[in-house]
Amino acid sequence: MLSIRDLHARIGARKILKGLNLEVRAGEVHAIMGPNGSGKSTLASVLAGREGVDVTQGTVTYQGHDLLALPPEERAREGVFLAFQYPVEIPGVNNAYLLKAALNAVRKQRGEAELDAFEFLALVRDRMQLMQMDESFLSRGVNEGFSGGEKKRNEILQMALLEPKLAVLDETDSGLDIDALRIVSSGVNSLRSADRAIVLVTHYQRLLDYIEPDFVHVLSDGRILKSGDKSLARELERRGYDWVKQEASAA
């Protein structure tokens, strides 16, 4: 589904990704872990198409197409979803409008009919229940005045509604208390399926207690230094990141 080859990217003059390789197949959950500044969020930004991140080398292929050639909205319509580390507050644009516009953009691309107001409301109510969100969210501004936990729940609500093929969750666990973490995780778990891939970008292994990954990768200084199964995450939690770097430089 997603194939990243020798990816180099920089922000301004600063080189951040320095030859990253990653293969993600449908049905898999990958965790990208690494210390601060290793390039995790830059990777998420490259996949979503954020401006200001320059890809200088390498390729990203998504479902056989060059992902980097697409503007952000086309990536979204093709089924790529980024759950933001810091969801943006947009006063004056209400949640219901955004959810409906986003959903219909995706449906149109999939060749499905746009939902009318009643169908939309029924669907969104169902998904909101899953995220334990109150219906009053719908009439509020996008993320306006939301707590950290509410913002993250809203991200997963959007994901549940849009049913992406590839979901990239950027530090979705940061700033969550244990209850919110449970809700968010169960939302993500309910979306695991054989035709969907999920990439979790996280600093801590805590999230992985709730969402069990098939693969764990250690990202450091812009490259994936080590890959393994979920046991690697526990080892990282116990031993930190330094031993991976040492092991890599010894090799």
């Binding site: 979503a48 198409g49 954020r50 401006e51 503007p71 952000p72 909205e73 990536r75 979204a76 319509r77 980024l82 933001f84 969801p87 943006v88 947009i90 006063p91 004056g92 644009v93 409008y97 955004l98 516009a101 986003a102 953009a105 995706v106 691309q109 501004g141 996008v142 959007q158 849009l162």
Partner: protein, 436 residues
């Protein structure tokens, strides 16, 4: 003493005044005094502070003539959709009784033109009086000299007129006209009125409109003034709007500026009586090559007065806008509350908005706030919306609507609110389509 030296520019207006004079009603001496004041002040020079960002050279160089009464009465005009239960229409400065709809006006509400000012009517004095001071005094004086059909709206004390009066001021036709609409509004104690001041017209020719609005609210009165400046894109519109608000009275202004080639509004509100209130919100859209200049001045002259000025501005292409908001809390106006906000959005490179909030306080027990911002659409919000599948133009238009929504939602007159909303949407779509 000899007359002050006149430029060729005022000569054009003097010719017009001389030609018009025989047909003008009211005191000839006051008309002449008013014209003399205009001639004395002339057009603003480039160093005049009140005209710092707005040059009238373009206006000065154009030639206009007052519309002949019969021509104005005969002109076929497109009447905008009704925005109220009652209607009165001025075309190129002349009252069009054939287009008016005043038959159902309630008892205690008078709407008439001061074609024949009554000698015993104190209000008649307002016809040839002009507000002094400020950058637009010259045009108010010019208006006092040449206004053909001053309109007088009176609400008797205690009368609450719930139906809206739609005042339609049209500048139209194939001849380039100058016109001087004057709207005098007098609300008796405890009365209520809703008035739409709607400026519109066609672009068959360039027009110059110098309007005066003169409002007085007696104690406890309430006026909802909805202003819609939708002049043609070839019109020069200059307006002096003065209001005096009595004790416990309330003035709400909902201003929408969507038209004109060049427009200037001076809105001066005096909170004259205890607990008088002014609630002023507005929106201006300077797209194309439009130049919109707004000066709002609120004077707190009494104890416990309250004011809000909340303006949102949008500029695009070669559009340019100026906003100057000033609140003055005079000595003795204790326990007053003055709030001001000017927020501005530049949609495309090349557009410009100059904003200047000012606050002067001469009392110590007051609450005041002011703020001004000018910026572009937030790139983080743009990316967020696009990452959810919205196209760039959908995202831009959603964010622009969100920006203007805060003041649009204050227009509590449904047909006007939807008219402004739709017009704004149409402009946004065209604007976004033009982008490369």
């Amino acid at each position: 003493m000899s007359e002050p030296a006149r430029t060729p520019v005022t000569a054009q207006y003097r010719e017009a005044f001389e030609a018009l004079r025989p047909s003008l009603r009211g005191s000839a001496a006051r008309r002449s005094a008013a014209f003399a004041r205009f001639a004395e002040l002339g057009f603003p020079g480039s160093r005049e502070e009140a005209w710092k960002y707005t040059s009238l050279r373009r206006l000065e160089n154009r030639r206009f003539a007052p519309a002949a009464r019969q021509a104005a009465l005969d002109l076929a005009v497109a009447l905008p959709a009704a925005l109220g239960a009652y209607r009165v229409v001025l075309v190129n400065g002349h009252a069009r009784d054939d287009l008016a709809n005043l038959t159902a006006l309630p008892q205690g509400v008078q709407v008439r033109t001061l074609a024949e000012p009554r000698a015993d009517d104190a209000v008649a004095a307002a016809v040839s009086r002009w507000p002094t001071g400020g950058g637009t005094e010259r045009f108010a004086a010019l208006n006092a000299a040449m206004s053909t059909d001053p309109l007088l709206i009176e609400i008797d004390a205690g009368v609450r007129c719930e139906g809206t009066l739609h005042v339609v001021v049209i500048a139209a036709g194939a001849a380039a006209t100058m016109s001087y609409p004057r709207i005098v509004v007098r609300l008796g104690a405890g009365s209520l009125a809703r008035i739409v001041l709607h400026y519109t017209g066609d672009d068959a020719a360039e027009h110059f409109v110098a309007a005066v609005v003169d409002v007085d609210l007696a104690d406890g009165a309430e006026l909802h003034a909805y202003r819609l400046q939708a002049a043609s894109s070839r019109t020069f519109h200059i307006e002096r709007f003065d209001a005096s608000v009595g004790a416990g009275a309330r003035l709400a202004v909902r201003d929408s500026q969507l038209g004109a080639a060049l427009a200037r509004l001076d809105l001066n509100v005096a909170l004259a009586g205890r607990a008088a209130e002014a609630d002023i919100t507005g929106l201006f859209v300077a797209d194309g090559a439009r130049h919109l200049d707004t000066h709002v001045h609120v004077a707190h002259r009494a104890i416990e007065t309250r004011s809000l000025q909340d303006y949102r501005g949008v500029a695009a292409n070669r559009g340019r806008a100026v906003f100057n908001g000033k609140s003055v809390v005079h000595e003795g106006a204790q326990k007053s509350n003055a709030r001001q906000s000017s927020r501005n959005l530049l949609l495309t490179p090349g557009a410009e908005i100059d904003t200047k909030p000012e606050l002067e306080i001469y009392a110590d027990d007051v609450q005041c706030s002011h703020g001004a911002t000018t910026g572009q659409l937030d790139p983080a919000a743009m990316f967020y919306l696009r990452s959810r599948g919205l196209s760039e133009s959908e995202a831009r238009s959603a964010l622009t609507r969100a920006f203007t929504g805060a003041v649009l939602s204050r227009i509590d007159l449904a047909p006007l609110a939807s008219l402004v909303h739709d017009e704004l949407d149409g402009r946004l779509v065209r604007l976004l389509e033009q982008r490369p």
